[in-house]
């Protein structure tokens, strides 16, 4: 059986996208329901981040099971703008609460941003390494 190349990158992308999806809904979810019974916009920012995370999770699974280096490379490249979008969702594209100390600003925003940036770095690294493998003729 041939050894898979860069399996750590495959696994890292699956783990990080799963973390983004689950985390945005649970352990770094935005602020809860307000005293007056309404949701703030941060609630929808969390939902959007989780949604983009879910899409990236599907891409990461495709990346994991894809056979060719070319397919893996293009899936990795497609994850970069998605991760950039998720990094921009909280606070830039969708406004959060007005207090920096509130959960959406203090916990959700940095968590989503950091995870997204790490996804971008890993996807970029993965694409570069797969491209080099392709050029060197190793198609495993």
């Amino acid at each position: 059986m041939k050894k898979r190349k860069y399996i750590a990158l495959d696994a890292a992308l699956v783990v990080l996208t799963a973390l983004l999806t689950i985390g945005a809904l649970t352990f770094f979810s935005p602020c809860g329901i307000h005293d007056d019974g309404t949701y703030g916009t941060c609630h929808w920012a969390g939902a959007a981040a989780a949604g983009i995370g879910a899409v990236m999770l599907v891409l990461a699974v495709i990346h994991l099971i894809a056979g060719s280096q070319t397919a893996k490379k293009f899936v990795a490249v497609s994850m970069i703008p998605s991760a950039l979008l998720s990094a921009l969702i909280p606070g830039t594209l969708i406004p959060l609460c007005m207090m920096a100390g509130m959960r959406c600003n203090a916990v959700m925003r940095p968590s989503v941003t950091i995870i997204s940036i790490v996804i971008i770095i890993i996807a970029l690294l993965d694409a570069v390494l797969r491209h080099r493998l392709e050029k060197s003729g190793d198609k495993r």
């Binding site: 007056d36 606070g91 007005m98 207090m99 920096a100 100390g101 203090a106 916990v107 950091i114």
Partner: protein, 399 residues
């Protein structure tokens, strides 16, 4: 064979061993950097709070403590309010030793349809104020007009934006520099604006006082004249003025100072413990490698490497690991402490103000030095032992 590339080839050849040592260095530099930035942030928070208070004594109604946690409200910006008669200001000004006295007005907004955020609104008299104006003048030089507000750094509304309190729109004209305390969530306005808001709250059935806003104040901030003892002036007010309490600012800060000192000492202890623990584990790992690498070094001796070159090889390997691990550890520390500083402040409930770029660079450099010292120092004994391997004995044993 290129001897210069040998340390890197050795590290690549044993990815498991390299990963273990790298993780140890990452852990060590992460702890040193994150710990030192945290301790520095706590110290910054306290000095920021001292500077922001700007008063020696704060006079509040004697009933204030029964309504609110005074320290929490004045030092942490927890929304709350209390009122006393404005005539107390004249009485305070007549006390010997009082150089300056200025009233402040406190109001709490609610998070509801009428208000865009729940916060403490602090009104001050621009003609007499000496505690808020110096801070505001750093960001806004003009005089605050009615319905203009200056917001703390933790309020994310941009300058030029609007906040709504009790259905009254207020213009955000400036944002204050951060203090690392709850005061960063407060909103500052002149006394006229606060009176308008008090009236608006009353009109909506959310009055915070029964009295006439024109005859009420919440607190009096006092600057004690040079040559007078703060405690003596405060004691005098407490004895001779009815229904008020004079609190020296230092006494309010002492509780926070004690907590900060306790937390800082604990963090320093933990950082030292982590550094020593990681250092000891690294010594053990390097020592464990002596036996494993004896043959490799015997062969290198046979091909002509001197003892000094062998020792240098081991030290170079550990130095490479220290540099890579140190940089990754510092980057991880920065990724945890800076983006999550608001969450850390909320969790520990103490002033927390991350240091400036200069201090951060210095702390990063010191953390890198700590990692650079730990790696080679931990491998020094192993380098000495391996450089003195008896080539003949080792190779005979292996045959």
């Amino acid at each position: 064979m290129n001897i210069r590339s040998l340390p890197i080839k050795n590290l690549k050849k044993k990815p498991g061993r390299t990963a273990v040592l790298l993780i140890l260095v990452i852990f060590l530099s992460f702890a040193v950097f994150a710990g030192s930035v945290t301790v520095s942030s706590l110290g910054n928070g306290l000095s920021g709070l001292e500077r922001r208070l700007g008063a020696d004594i704060i006079v509040v109604p004697s009933s204030a403590r029964s309504h609110v946690d005074l320290e929490q409200m004045l030092l942490s910006g927890t929304p709350g309010y209390f009122y006393m008669d404005k005539s107390n200001l004249g009485k305070v000004l007549s006390v010997e030793g009082v150089e300056k006295a200025s009233p402040q007005y406190f109001m709490a907004s609610v998070k509801a349809g009428c208000c865009s955020l729940k916060t403490q609104i602090i009104g001050f008299d621009p003609d007499t104020d000496f505690s808020v104006t110096p801070w505001i003048s750093e960001s806004y030089q003009s005089r605050l007009e009615t319905q203009d507000v200056v917001v703390g750094s933790d309020i994310t509304v941009p300058v030029g934006g609007r906040v709504r309190f009790y259905d009254v729109n207020c213009n955000v004209v400036a944002k204050l520099a951060p203090t690392g305390t709850g005061l960063d969530t407060a909103v500052y306005a002149n006394d006229d604006t606060v009176k308008i808001l008090m009236q608006a709250a009353a009109d909506k059935g959310m009055a915070q006082t029964e009295g006439d806003p024109d005859t009420l104040i919440s607190a009096i901030y006092i600057k004690v004249a040079d040559g007078y003892d703060v405690q003596t002036v405060a004691d005098y007010i407490n004895i001779y003025m009815k229904k008020v309490e004079a609190v020296p600012a230092r006494s309010m800060l002492s509780g926070i100072s004690d907590s900060l000192s306790g937390i800082s000492d604990t963090i320093k202890l933990l950082v030292a413990a982590v550094w020593i623990l990681a250092f000891v584990i690294m010594i053990i790992v390097f020592s464990g490698l002596v036996n494993e690498r004896k043959k490799e070094f015997a062969v290198l001796r046979v091909v002509g490497m001197s003892r000094k070159m062998l020792a240098r090889l081991i030290l170079t390997e550990s130095l490479i690991l220290s540099v890579i691990g140190g940089v990754i550890g510092i980057a991880l520390g920065a990724a945890v402490v800076f983006p999550f500083s608001a969450a850390i402040e909320a969790r520990i409930g103490l002033p927390f103000l991350t240091p400036g770029a200069g201090t951060v660079i210095l702390l990063a450099a010191l953390s890198l030095v700590a990692a650079l010292v730990a790696g080679p120092a931990a491998s020094a004994y192993s380098a000495y032992k391996l450089s003195r391997v008896d080539t003949g004995v080792i190779l005979r044993e292996g045959m």
